[in-house]
């Protein structure tokens, strides 16, 4: 049941030249789900604010600060913590991706010792829990290094960034390996017949094609990493969770628990949901039939 994807209409040219795409089975359902979800979300959020407003009114009668005013009071501090989480996620992703690409290339190398050791490293860091790796990096990396008389400080959050970049490295390595191995062998053979060296084959033919295949899982990995950044609060780095707990400790109000956790959860949701939806679209866009 093939239909022409609406996104490709209007590009000019013959219809027969357009890429063949199966319509996603529930496309109309997804749009309906979005429609409902959007309205449900709006209703939910409106209800939430209404509830907070009512509580504000009630609290002013009881002469204690309302939940809404408390959340507003702590928002700047908490939001600063959230931005710090995002910073950690960017840095970890950057470092992990760079190291992962190298590791992935080692995994498809022709030299057996390189391939085997890269495989061991990848499997090790894929199978280690993220929290344990974080603890390991925080506790066992020295807090500063002296190189040529100058000390390079390693504050806690940098160590946490390294700790998080290790599993990212392992996952990216697997993506790269999978992508390189999914390129049809015809490409390799054609390159060989044109006298390309292995290095040139990789850089000019194989890797450019891999970028497309790696992109959706890579973006998915970024969403997962962003949602793993609160883990660094357990090892003592000051980010949004530590600050939330400190705020709760300073306020000592039991009825603040649910609103403030929902509040922080919603920030993560607003950030990650568009990324995951875009990833789904990207995946569908790049799906190759056959």
């Amino acid at each position: 049941m093939a239909t022409v994807d609406r996104a490709s209409e209007g590009r000019g040219g013959f219809a027969v030249m357009l890429p063949f795409r199966l319509a996603p089975r529930e496309s109309s359902v997804w749009r309906f789900a979005d429609w409902i979800s959007l309205r449900a979300a709006v209703v939910l959020v409106a209800g939430l604010w209404l509830g907070l407003a009512v509580d504000a009114f009630a609290a002013s009668a009881a002469a204690q600060p309302s939940i809404l005013s408390l959340m507003v009071k702590w928002s700047p501090v908490l939001f600063g913590g959230f931005l710090f989480n995002l910073l950690i996620s960017f840095l970890s992703m950057a470092i992990g991706t760079a190291a992962g690409i190298i590791l992935g290339l080692f995994q498809v190398s022709l030299r057996i010792p390189l391939r085997r050791s890269a495989w061991v490293v990848t499997q090790f860091f894929r199978n280690a829990p993220w929290l344990v790796l974080l603890f390991y990096c925080i506790l066992l990396i020295p807090f500063e290094l002296s190189i040529f008389g100058r000390t390079v400080p390693f504050p806690d959050w940098i160590k946490a960034v390294f700790g998080l970049s290790l599993p990212v490295m392992a996952y990216v390595s697997e993506f790269v390996r999978g992508a390189v191995q999914s390129i049809p062998s015809g490409q390799w053979e054609a390159a060989e017949s044109l006298a390309f060296s292995r290095r040139k084959t990789m850089t000019m033919i194989i890797l450019p094609q891999c970028v497309k295949r790696v992109l959706p899982p890579w973006m998915n990995l970024y969403a997962i990493l962003t949602m793993a950044t609160p883990l660094v609060s357990i090892v003592g780095v000051q980010e949004v969770m530590t600050l939330t707990r400190a705020a709760l400790g300073a306020e000592n109000r039991v009825d603040l628990l649910i609103p403030i956790y929902l509040y922080v959860l919603s920030w993560f949701f607003i950030y990650c949901y568009p990324i995951s939806r875009y990833t789904v679209r990207l995946e569908r866009h790049f799906t190759v039939i056959g």
């Binding site: 500063e144 190189i147 300073a250 109000r253």
Partner: protein
């Protein structure tokens, strides 16, 4: 091509060993370092009201922060604070990440092997529990088999669990432990009696709670410096400061300023040092 790889490997190994050699230079005198750096890094609690807690602007304030500020003033340097918790504070000091530790830390022989405790101790507290009045706890042995909230890394956890056999549920911070106690996830919260007393006297949310047991295992708290510094100029300096705090009633006044009940330990120390 392999020769090129080998040369690169050799160069890298040489670089690493050079870095290692340089990194293992001897420790300079901490007092000098702090003065020349112009700032002192102090580890403090940020979730232990009112010894160290967060105010809405994100600043850490409290009794111990006032003490740290006093030390910085005496040295003529700026104060930089690093929030710590019970489970990581000694590691930070041993690694050199912080110069000084003022974080409600109990002084005991095992810990003296790891960090340098400054005497005279600046505070003292004992172990007790915060429990709902309805629980009807009278003796420590009543805790046997019951769920008791605690803080991860506290020094009395092992003692309480081996002596009285409760089922210890240890959390990372006070907000979690208090919330768990309120929810009924545990029947009592074993913690320092000074904190429990200050919360019971000041916080209305604990109106239905009490501190029923006999305070046990009195431990002095101590400020700590890194172990190599204990016998050096930094250790001497901190010892003098500590004596001065007791002599000048500064600790008693700070205690009152932050609304903590008068601590008999402080009165006793003041009498001892007033001259």
């Amino acid at each position: 091509m392999y020769l090129r790889l080998f040369k690169w490997a050799l160069a890298f190994a040489a670089l690493v060993s050079l870095v290692g050699a340089i990194a293992s230079t001897a420790q300079a005198d901490q007092l000098q370092t702090v003065k020349s750096r112009g700032k002192i890094v102090v580890g403090v609690k940020q979730d232990y009201k009112p010894w160290g807690f967060l105010d809405p602007s994100g600043k850490i304030v409290g009794l111990e922060i006032d003490l740290a500020q006093d030390v910085a003033n005496r040295l003529g340097v700026k104060l930089e604070m690093v929030p710590v918790v019970a489970s990581n504070r000694m590691e930070f000091l041993a690694q050199g990440k912080i110069d000084l530790l003022v974080a409600t830390m109990g002084d005991n022989p095992k810990r003296r092997e790891v960090v340098g405790m400054i005497e005279p101790n600046y505070y003292a507290g004992g172990t007790n529990v915060l429990a709902p009045k309805a629980a009807g706890l009278k003796k420590w042995t009543d805790l046997k088999g019951k769920k008791v909230c605690a803080i991860q890394g506290a020094y009395y956890n092992k003692r309480v669990s081996t002596l009285y056999g409760p089922d210890l549920v240890a959390f990372a911070g006070i907000p979690e432990a208090s919330a768990a106690l309120k929810n009924g996830n545990c029947v009592a919260f074993v913690y320092d009696n000074t904190w429990i007393e200050s919360r019971l006297s000041e916080d209305k949310q604990w109106a239905a709670y009490e501190m029923p047991l006999v305070t046990e295992d009195f431990q002095s708290w101590a400020i700590a410096v890194a172990l190599p510094e204990l016998k050096g100029p930094f250790g001497d300096f901190m010892r003098k400061v500590s004596v001065d705090w007791h002599k000048s009633r500064k600790l008693i006044e700070l205690n009152r300023k932050w609304g903590i009940k008068d601590n008999p330990f402080l009165t006793e120390m003041h009498n001892k040092y007033k001259g």
